[in-house]
């Protein structure tokens, strides 16, 4: 089976004054469907840059990314937006729910930007996603009325509402207490059963330990890629 994402010779070079900073210095990686992968590394290792490029938020300076059989390294901003609303989900450390919207509206948000967006269908899909994360009882609450763990579950519901191929979770447990950390990690791990690839981006070895494959990065390169 071909890889979900195949990265070859990926480079990202930033101009910082007169100096070129190699955030990614030639990365080769494959991600498969239904994998639970952790990308581990200290800040500045290039793990965030890699996540942004793979999540269609940024473009590489050089190299090739084949996503579901398509070359996507040089896509336009609007095409990348399409991938973000259709094929990719994000879970952030600080949840990033919109405070004015209800739980249900927050979860339905990615569907709003799809071409076939229909309010009723979006709402139905959002309810299913919220059920999946066990938050059906809080549909009309505002994010501020929820605990940290609850907010992250809503954020996960938002990430999976559009049936993405892959979810990027950027330090998803960084703002949570111990009890909620394992719950969220278990929830993320359970998503692979639905064929979703989950990529955990973290600097915390204990968190990365939950994944089935750990990719260690340092100074823009993959240092270690280990199946567990």
């Amino acid at each position: 089976m071909p890889a979900l994402i195949a990265i070859r010779g990926l480079r990202k070079i930033y101009q910082m004054g007169d100096e070129n900073v190699h955030a990614l210095a030639g990365v080769n990686l494959d991600f498969n469907k239904g994998e639970f992968v952790a990308i581990l590394g200290p800040s500045g290792s290039g793990k965030s840059t890699l996540m942004h490029i793979l999540g269609f938020m940024d473009t590489p300076t050089e190299g090739s990314i084949v996503f579901e059989g398509q070359e996507v390294a040089g896509l336009s901003a609007d095409r990348r937006a399409w991938y973000r609303s259709n094929r990719v989900g994000f879970v952030f450390q600080s949840f990033n729910l919109l405070p004015r919207l209800t739980v249900l509206e927050n979860v339905a948000l990615p569907l709003l930007y799809r071409e076939d967006s229909k309010p009723e269908a979006n709402e139905a899909a959002a309810k299913i996603a919220l059920e999946r994360v066990g938050m059906s009882h809080r549909l009309d609450h505002r994010p501020s009325q929820l605990s940290g763990g609850e907010r992250q579950r809503v954020a996960i519901a938002r990430a999976i509402v559009g049936m993405p191929a892959i979810i990027f979770a950027d330090e998803p447990t960084g703002n949570l207490d111990v009890k909620n950390v394992s719950r969220i990690l278990e929830l993320l791990a359970s998503l692979i059963k639905e064929g979703i690839t989950v990529v955990l981006v973290t600097h915390d070895l204990a968190v990365a330990d939950h994944a089935h494959r750990i990719i260690s990065m340092r100074e823009g390169s993959v240092q270690e890629d280990r199946q567990r």
């Binding site: 999540g55 938020m57 940024d58 901003a77 609007d78 609303s85 919109l98 990615p110 930007y113 938002r158």
Partner: protein
């Protein structure tokens, strides 16, 4: 692209932002509210005034009226004074024969104030000798069923008939009395009432015709007065064949200048070169009104324009502040799939919602202002309503505010659209 379906959530979102920041939104709207209110109120009031000017000029005989009055000879002709015959019916015939531009010509003899009496009741009023053409030239009419005016036969026979202004009727007759056919005495002569002029109603600058017999207000002078055949006036009152004035009517205001020129040439011929007459039109009056109107529109429109401009700046300011506060939101929306154009639309819709609401409130305020001005004017002038609410003006005001809102929203919306999602998400 189905723009409407993308627009709807954007508008809903805009309303929601408005609701979440009520005070700020109201403040940002205040400029638009004031701008639209002043624009709509001023245009409405100026339009009302201009309408009154037009009616006033119309009441003076309209733009198509030319008046020829007697005038002392100019200095260089003073020594020829005894040769001056003044205006006579010969001038009337000559103008009628040679100037087709003149549709009606009304010779008038001003008899002056005369005492009218019937059955012991007396009333002094201004008596004018005239012909049938007086009606179209002066734009006054006999009310239906209230008799007739001076006829050609009256002129021929120098009949002793009289037509009364509506204000005269109320002074000389009981309300239930029919004046037609009654005989009135004037300077010992007996005149039969054959017609009653229509009543010019309204006060202040407003004029309208009505069947009502009431008189009063500032137009009383136009409702008093009595009319007899011009030949009767010459033979039985002035004792000569001189006319006091000529009233002329041309088909349209465009012919006015040509007609004035031709009338002057014709009269100079019949008067053997003596300039013992002056030709006047209502054009100067109308021109003055036009200048006043233009000045009002310019100054008031300028004020309204400036307040709308300031309103636009207010909206832009609030939009920029709002975007600054919501950089993170913009990042989140982009991360979950919003394109730049989605965010552009969202923020533009927000600006439009503010301006439309501001415009609607502004129109409401303008209605209050116009009503207040009308009230004050009614108290001060005893005049009727000076300005009418005009849905077209209101819609124009609203359209103006929407345009301002959209223009003011473009720059902030572009900024939102161009934000980099990664930077935006990092923003604290």
């Amino acid at each position: 692209m189905r723009i409407f379906e993308r627009l709807r959530p954007a508008v809903v979102n805009g309303l929601r932002e408005l609701q979440a920041n009520k005070v700020r939104s109201l403040l940002s709207m205040s400029g638009i509210i004031l701008g639209v209110a002043s624009l709509v109120a001023m245009v409405t009031v100026v339009q009302g005034m201009v309408g009154n000017f037009r009616q006033f000029v119309d009441a003076m005989g309209g733009i198509e009226k030319i008046t020829v009055d007697k005038q002392p000879l100019p200095k260089e002709q003073e020594h020829l004074a005894e040769l001056s015959e003044g205006m006579t019916m010969r001038d009337v015939d000559q103008i009628r024969a040679t100037i087709p531009l003149v549709q009606n010509i009304s010779p008038e003899v001003r008899v002056g104030y005369e005492k009218l009496s019937i059955e012991g009741r007396e009333f002094s009023t201004y008596v004018t000798g005239c012909t049938a053409d007086y009606l179209p030239v002066a734009k006054r009419w006999i009310d239906p069923g209230e008799g007739r005016f001076v006829s050609d036969l009256d002129i021929l026979h120098k009949s002793d008939v009289i037509i009364l202004g509506s204000a005269v009727v109320t002074e000389l007759f009981q309300p239930n009395e029919d004046p037609l056919g009654k005989v009135i005495k004037m300077r010992g002569r007996r005149f039969t009432v054959v017609g009653i002029m229509n009543n010019i109603e309204g006060s202040g600058m407003q004029v309208r015709s009505a069947n009502s017999k009431s008189s009063g207000g500032m137009w009383r002078w136009r409702n008093s007065g009595a009319y007899i055949p011009v030949t009767t006036a010459m033979v039985k009152f002035t004792g000569n064949d001189r006319l006091s004035a000529l009233g002329l009517r041309v088909a349209s205001g465009d012919d006015l200048n040509n007609a004035v020129e031709q009338v002057e040439r014709t009269l100079l011929t019949t008067h053997h070169g003596l300039k013992d007459f002056s030709i006047n039109t209502n054009e100067q009056t109308l021109e003055d009104f036009r200048k006043t109107e233009a000045a009002f529109k310019l100054s008031l429109g300028g004020v309204a324009g400036i307040s709308l401009f300031v309103g636009g700046i207010g909206i832009m300011n609030v939009m920029l502040a709002s975007i600054n506060e919501r950089i993170r939101e913009i990042g989140v929306r982009k991360a979950v799939g919003a394109r730049g154009s989605d965010l552009f639309l969202q923020f533009l819709a927000e600006a439009a919602v503010i301006s439309v609401l501001g415009g609607i409130i502004g129109i409401g305020v303008s209605m209050g202002v116009v009503a207040l001005m009308n009230f004050i004017l009614t108290q001060a002038l005893p005049s009727g309503m000076v300005a009418k609410f005009d849905i077209i003006i209101m819609l124009q005001g609203l359209a103006f505010s929407v345009v301002i809102g959209l223009v003011a929203g473009v720059y902030p919306a572009l900024r939102a659209a161009k934000l980099d999602p990664i930077e935006a998400l990092r923003h604290e």
